[in-house]
Amino acid sequence: MKALVARLGRACIGFVSGLGAITRFAGAIGVVVLTRPWRFRSLSRQLYDAGALSFVLISASGMTVGMVLALQGYNTLTRFGAESSLGAVVGLSLIRELGPVLTALLVTGRAGSAKAAEIGAMVTTEQLDGLRMMSIDPVDYVATPRALAIFFAMPLLTAFFILFGILGGYLVGVNFLGLDSGTYLASLETSVDFRDDIVAAFLKAGIFGMLVGLISTYRGTTCTPTTEGVSAATTSTVVTASVCILVSDYVITALWGV
């Protein structure tokens, strides 16, 4: 019993001190972002890596999700004779919920884990210590461009996910289930609100981007300098970031109703 309480206590202390450390890390990134030099070259390279190279994955996933949504939605809607609302169902669920969340989960798996492993490998080969000894701050030189790249890529990728999702829904709804193309688009257009839906999607995407960027670079730079350390950092990035995405999604939806 005593051991259990002790373990619980230790876990709580570990959790809180971890939270403190990642907050300090976020503060350090904030300072770097606000002060010169701004590493645009490095940022654009990372943006290409985290963003452009994720494009095919994101658009293909968006397309399939849209297609499934259309099939499922059609089957349900026909029961109520409401198949003309298919566009609204596909569009709204993609924009408000599935687009931001699934994109964030996919980016975590693809870019977040890769960045954590990359920085972790740099830690094990003493590259970060090498930078420190040259009076170069690894948070500035290594972590910030990667975290920022994920932050900027997320809303863009979310937009593509939604776009390809709506396209996939259109293909299934119109070409396969024989819905009228005008009906699909009109129901989409009338139901989606710019402020309540589109802006909200970008808000979510921005917050998710910040979370994934921070968690992956933090786990990378604090990685234990061993092979196991790198794999632990990668796994914990995916697990922590995924949980944070899902929890914060609920919180955002509950607070702002988006």
Partner: protein
């Protein structure tokens, strides 16, 4: 610190005093004190796990001791002031055991990095200085290669070029000889001696390569049981202290005699 025959160094460039450090339950340094004289080559020796790399990391401020103080040219790297640590690091260059070059960048970009970060030099000046440094370590025509395309010996030399590109006063070298064949060991040895003589650099080198250490060192620092024994190679090789003789082995005197003969000839 225990010195073999009492003489303290007059002008210490790096001072380590009463340092204690433990990792969890493992005590690496119990009470470590030693001075590294200005302009001298000091070699830190000790068995595997004695704490050679750890001592260099402490001096560089990459690790903080649990107790005690470390100063580099008067600035503490053991303290909590980031500005002081940065000032100390401007005096330091460090050669890591595996080079620690950024593996996504060419050799040129690696060596140019500190110049780009800390100086206002133009592209032409940077190129000139980088090639001069690479030439001084005997590397030419490798600028465009990536670190993984170099051999171990070349990598070590490229890392040395990066460590000295900002003209530091002190260079810390972690195991510069390990894993190299005899010609490459001799080459690095020659380079270090040359840096020390021509630029007056203070060198702090960790090594368990006994022969080259005895040939190169002005001062030996033997790490043992969490403390250190310092002395020049002559003193240590003459010593009958079992802790010293056990580590240096029977050939120590012969190496020192050979060195004396070579120096007399030169």
């Amino acid at each position: 610190m225990s010195r073999v025959n009492g003489s303290g160094s007059q002008d210490p460039h790096v001072e380590v005093s009463r340092v204690r450090l433990r990792f969890g339950s493992r005590e690496v340094f119990r009470d470590l004190s030693c001075d590294f004289p200005r302009g001298a080559i000091s070699i830190v020796m000790g068995g595997s796990g004695a704490g050679k790399s750890t001592l260099l990391r402490l001096i560089g401020g990459l690790l903080r001791p649990d107790a005690g103080e470390i100063t580099v040219g008067g600035d503490r790297t053991s303290g909590t002031s980031p500005a002081e640590v940065l000032r100390a690091r401007r005096r330091l260059g460090m050669l890591f055991q595996n080079g620690a070059l950024l593996d996504s960048m060419s050799i040129f970009e690696n060596v140019a990095l500190p110049l780009r970060e800390h100086t206002e030099n133009g592209e032409a000046e940077i190129a000139e200085r980088v090639s001069a440094r690479l030439a001084s370590v005997g590397l030419e025509g490798v600028e465009a290669l990536l670190p993984r395309e170099l051999s171990g010996g070349m990598l070590r030399r490229a890392a040395l070029a990066r460590a000295i590109v900002m003209d530091p006063e002190i260079v810390l070298c972690d195991e510069p000889f390990s894993g190299l064949d005899p010609p490459n060991v001799a080459r690095i040895e020659e380079l270090l001696r040359d840096l020390n003589r021509s630029r007056g650099l203070t060198l702090i080198v960790s090594s368990h390569h006994i022969a080259s250490s005895l040939r190169l060192a002005d001062q030996l620092v033997l790490l043992q049981g969490g403390a250190s024994i310092c002395g020049d190679p002559g003193e240590l090789s003459e010593s009958h202290d079992p802790r010293i003789t056990e580590f240096l082995g029977a050939d120590a005197r012969a190496h020192v005699a050979l060195r004396a003969a070579a120096e007399a000839k030169a």
